[in-house]
Symmetry: C2
């Protein structure tokens, strides 16, 4: 990773730590929010915010707020997805999941609080975003995180693994629909909201960036499926082979392992092609596209 991305990673870690240090929050709730959010992780969504902001000449102080909000929402989604009634995972980022470390009620509440905090941070009077930016970014975030985005995708994902469903019915289009919502929507929001931190970004550039994000988002999930087959639990920091255990449809299962890897590479190149026309500052976005496809965990 280049120094801009390394610096960005450090920035968002620092701001998350600051934002999760409110002494008016009940200690157990704050502990649980910090436990899940400050547990490392790749910060891909935050980095996409910074990279898209860099490409759009956005002030870095604005990107800080948006990156932090994105990571709060991502963290909430992992906590809730891992719950016993959802994917029932015990391990995440190499540590016990929130409901194992604390308990189910605390895990649910810490997720709720992180989701809510994202909107509080964006709209805080101290945030450097303009009122119009607050509105556009809040709406985009809510739209991508909610019923037609991430939450909708998680619902479809759960329905697709019901034991009474004939798994053969989940074809490639249906699988792609789930992933575009469950993972893709928030990755799209990261890129677009990063660009919205600029006062001068054009509608055309926003569309190009959104297309870049959609390709990256799908590539991310294809790689996730491949890693679930090829990696071991220690490297992943979560249970390997979990898709198979849960009876989830995956790209390797539908297309084969090699064709899945090829698809990820193609999507990565498509993503880079999407932003060829938006100016000279796209190098961090290009690096992130490669990072998503070549990651090992």
């Amino acid at each position: 990773m280049n120094s801009y991305l390394i610096d960005s990673q450090a920035r968002v870690e620092y701001i998350l730590d600051q934002s999760l240090s409110n002494n008016d929050v009940p200690a157990r709730l704050r502990d649980a929010m910090r436990y899940s959010t400050l547990a490392g992780g790749k910060r891909i969504r935050a980095l996409l915010v910074y990279a898209a902001g860099f490409a759009s000449n956005a002030p870095i102080e604005k990107l800080d707020v948006v990156a932090c909000a994105l990571e709060c929402i991502h963290s909430y989604s992992l906590i809730h997805d891992d719950l016993p009634s959802m994917d029932d995972d015990d391990l995440r980022r190499g540590q016990a999941t929130s409901h194992i470390q604390f308990d189910e009620a605390t895990a649910i509440l810490s997720g709720d609080a992180l989701l809510t905090l994202a909107f509080e941070l964006i709209n805080d009077s101290a945030s450097p975003l303009s009122d119009t930016q607050c509105r556009l970014i809040s709406h985009k975030l809510a739209n991508c995180a909610g019923q037609v985005g991430m939450v909708g995708g998680q619902m479809l994902d759960i329905l697709a693994t019901q034991p009474d469903l004939d798994l053969n019915r989940l074809d490639r289009d249906a699988l792609e629909d789930i992933h575009r919502k469950k993972t893709g929507a928030l990755i799209n929001a990261s890129v677009v909201c990063g660009a919205l931190c600029s006062e001068t970004v054009s509608k055309t550039d926003l569309i190009s960036l959104s297309n870049y994000a959609n390709n990256i988002g799908l590539a991310f999930q294809v790689v996730d499926d491949v890693l679930d087959v090829e990696s071991d639990t220690q490297q992943l920091g979560k249970q390997a082979g979990a898709d198979n255990t849960l009876g989830k449809s995956t790209y390797p299962e539908l297309l084969g392992l090699n064709a899945s890897k090829q698809l990820a590479q193609t999507l990565c190149q498509d993503a880079i092609d999407c932003i060829a026309s938006i100016g000279d500052n796209t190098r961090h976005l290009v690096e992130l596209a490669a990072l998503v496809v070549n990651r090992t965990h």
Copy 2:
């Protein structure tokens, strides 16, 4: 209830129905969101939005959006509070709770989606709110619903009913702190956000309205505790005597039943006194104060 409040109730029912009719939402998720949100209920929070907006000369179209957002957040909080790992309630508003009617995963996700939808509705480009109003209202909502407000209160409430806690330690101040957060914060947000729909509301009036709301909010909870002792399950639409079963501290337990009823009346009068100075259009707020204290379910 007077005709303005009856009309307001009909307005928010209509807008909730409209807002929860998006065909891009997975059917099961939409069904669960509608099931919990359109199940009747007193709509106290929506009515407080309309009444505070009326007192502040706010346009009714703006109040519609904010009232709808408040009811979405309230509905989400009930769904999550009722979960097996929280209060474990089977009955709400006279019908099966969400996790009984659907399942736990669907209940959690429908709550998540309703919380997110509140911010999507407020910040929609089609909403009549100005950008500044979107920001102020989004921040107030998130602040009152989140880690230092409602979610924080629910965390404290759960901690206070842990079997290893010496219940005698929960004195009146601690009980009041829980309720001010768990119930009071969202009632405060309802009143203040209603007033923020006005372009002309003064800071002084906002403070008066906020004080009114704090008294109403506490009165609401005192009455809740009294009803839990005095009413039967059918009248309440939820399990009567649940506080006792869960080992929760209550006002009747701390103060006695008659002193609790007296406290509710005093808080109601204090609330009305708070808004004596803010003009001639406070009659709906006055009526709601009485409604909160004299309700039977």
